[in-house]
């Protein structure tokens, strides 16, 4: 399948000029000199093109911050692009060196393969010791972030089922998260139900809403599906925001009770850490098992080629439905945990940006890769906390980071090469 895909991809880009398409040249800003070829460009090209790019972008920036800032931007951009350009000219030779070095290393490593397996066991042991003993040495702030990471791991794994395994883009995933959180909040504050009584009810409600969304959504192809899920997310948020008598609107619901285990109240942050950790491990374990099962393989088959999989007897509609509902289930669990941790929910926590953030976790980690998504969630929860001083710029960085990720490493940090998406 992959080779066929490659063949199609190789023939489909229609070369407008009979010259090779620039080697992944991301900065093809209006260049009158493009025809002159990259090989024999010479020093003039090396100087003029960065100048042109920097000038163009600085000009675009000009109305927003005035002349001085634009000149500064121009100088920075010019330096950066020239350096990149110069680096790129040597990159070809550098690449050869890299390949040689890697070859010589890998030929040596192959002999030590068993040892590297042992090393990975040591690594896993070390990681689990660090994770398990975190409350004993970490201060409250760190544990708090870790708890949040745990909740996001569950949420992102849920989205990973839908986007990563089944290949259905869901841009309104925060809706399920919101439904989970609000159903626990409402059951707890209005009916006085405890955590363990409301958990199954909340999860049932969320899973049901996953089914309800899936029924109209599954008639649609990729992009339409993305928009309908986005619309669903917005509708849920708007309802939560406007149904004042039931959800208290934008003020949110406070005073949600913490969970109890055997009569013991889980309120300390250290206790809550283990509580979330158990659920996160459960999520990872169950999702791993399901992904390896018949259902998981059916999902992957649908992702790779829907028509082919339906022609070998997979009931694609049913499996997509399961995928939506199963993903929603974990999002609901994450929502319940979130409500229990914060003891407060408001519609502000479930905006479109939240859905995008979770999607970024999945994409950064690698679509369909469970360890990757764990890593992606931890990185994206930690990063804003570490970048508090430059908080204003972090969304700017997130946006450009997404673009760069798509251009240079679309499979994410730990994504497999086989994952392909057409939607």
């Amino acid at each position: 399948m992959n080779t066929v895909e490659h063949k199609i991809q190789n023939t489909s880009p229609p070369p407008p000029h009979p010259l090779p398409q620039g080697e992944g040249d991301s900065f093809d800003i209006p260049s009158p000199s493009r025809g002159e070829g990259e090989g024999g460009g010479g020093s003039l090209n090396l100087f003029l093109r960065p100048l042109f790019i920097a000038l163009w972008l600085a000009l675009l920036f000009l109305p927003f911050r005035g002349l001085k800032a634009a000149v500064i931007l121009f100088i920075i951009l010019f330096a950066a692009v020239s350096l990149l350009k110069a680096f790129k000219n040597y990159a070809g030779t550098l690449k050869d060196v890299f390949v040689d070095v890697r070859k010589s290393i890998s030929s040596r490593i192959r002999i030590k393969l068993p040892e590297s397996k042992a090393r990975s066991t040591v690594f896993i042991l070390l990681m689990s010791v660090i994770v398990l003993t975190l409350p004993f040495y970490g201060h409250d702030y760190l544990i708090d972030i870790a708890v949040l990471s745990g909740i996001y791991i569950i949420l992102a794994q849920g989205l990973n089922i839908v986007v990563g395994f089944t290949g259905l883009l869901n841009l309104g995933f925060a809706a399920f998260y919101a439904i989970g959180a609000y159903s626990y909040a409402l059951l707890n504050t209005k009916l006085g139900l405890g955590f363990w009584a409301s958990l199954p009810l909340s999860l049932m409600l969320v899973t049901l809403s996953g089914f309800i969304l899936a029924i109209p959504a599954l008639r649609l192809r990729g992009d339409y599906l993305a928009i309908v899920t986005l619309g669903f997310g917005e509708i849920v948020r708007l309802v939560l925001n406007n149904w004042d008598s039931f959800t208290k609107g934008p003020n949110g619901i406070g005073g949600i009770g913490p969970p109890h285990i055997f009569g013991m109240r889980i309120s300390g942050i250290g206790q809550f850490y283990y509580f979330v950790l158990i659920f996160a491990l459960l999520a990872v374990f169950v999702i791993r098992r399901v992904a390896a099962s018949r259902i998981g393989r059916a999902w992957i088959a649908i992702r790779e080629d829907e028509i082919a999989s339906s022609s070998i007897g997979i009931n694609t509609t049913a499996y997509k439905l399961y995928s939506f509902a199963f993903g929603a289930f974990w999002a609901g669990l994450a929502g319940v945990l979130f409500a229990a941790k914060m003891q407060f929910v408001s519609p502000e926590s479930f905006t479109f940006m939240e859905s995008v953030l979770v999607l970024c976790m999945v994409i950064l980690g690698g679509l369909g890769s469970i360890p990757g998504v764990i890593l992606g969630s931890i990185i994206l929860v930690m990063l804003p906390e570490m970048l508090r001083e430059v908080q204003l710029y972090r969304m700017l960085a997130l946006g450009s980071g997404l673009v760069l990720l798509m251009i240079f490493r679309p499979q994410g940090l730990m994504g497999g090469k086989g994952v392909s998406f057409r939607g």
Binding site: W56, L59, I227, F232, M353, R422
Partner: protein, 300 residues
Amino acid sequence: MFIQQLINGLTLGGVYALIALGYTMVYGILELINFAHGEIYMLGAYLGIIFLAFFTTVGLTAYSLPLAMILTFVLSVIFCSAYGFTIEKIAYKPLRNAPRLSPLISAIGVSIFLQNYVMLTQGATDKIFPNLFEKAGIEFIGARVTYTQIFIIAASAVLMLSLNLFITKTRMGKAMRAVAQDKVMASLVGINIDTVISATFIIGSALAAVAGLMVAIYYGLVNYSIGYIAGIKAFTAAVLGGIGSIPGAMFGGVLLGLVESFSAAYISSEYKDAYAFIILIIILFIKPSGLFGKSQEEKV
């Protein structure tokens, strides 16, 4: 009341239609939901305020208001087109042969970037568009129609008609239709795909810029986040009419504007933003290819 809502709906619908055209043109050619398109509309509104403020300090506004307005329009359109062009070159062109999901996510990235770019450079608070045109208007069968509304309706109609002429009559329009039909074949008969795609982005962005500027005049307030919701609604309009179809986008935009205006008046204005999505879901459920769209069979 009815006539008043009709006029309000038409005004809103004209704006939605202008933005929706950009979505539908890009989708027709690249099969990409250009999430950043709503931000171009927002940039258009901001640039209008910036340029008008500049002309006011220079003294041009006092000298001749129409001239200042025309220059503001022209400059905003030029800058927004340049933004659209640049976004395509940086964020979408390297991904042209990538899997479908990649450019979409790249577009979401551009959208986040532009929102925060404007927020950081212009501040997070609402910007006020100088109230140059008094709220004067004419009485029309019991409804009040301001000159701004008349201007918006007329300008959108003229722009849509000229776009239609451009697509059907000119060489570039013909090339665009050819590329939308089949990229490979179009390139084989000597059409430069890159130029056509750039032209699509430039035209779409120009229309969005006009829409943004007109909304800034109409409401008098601009915020860095207006692009997102307007973009989603315009996309809804494009889907409503059948994405890829230019008359569909125009019709869908006007229809959506009318629905929103009437439902806000007669049902409830709290859920004003939700109607668009509800309509979208219903339309896609009944007729997934939109009102004017041709249903596509998936090729094996």
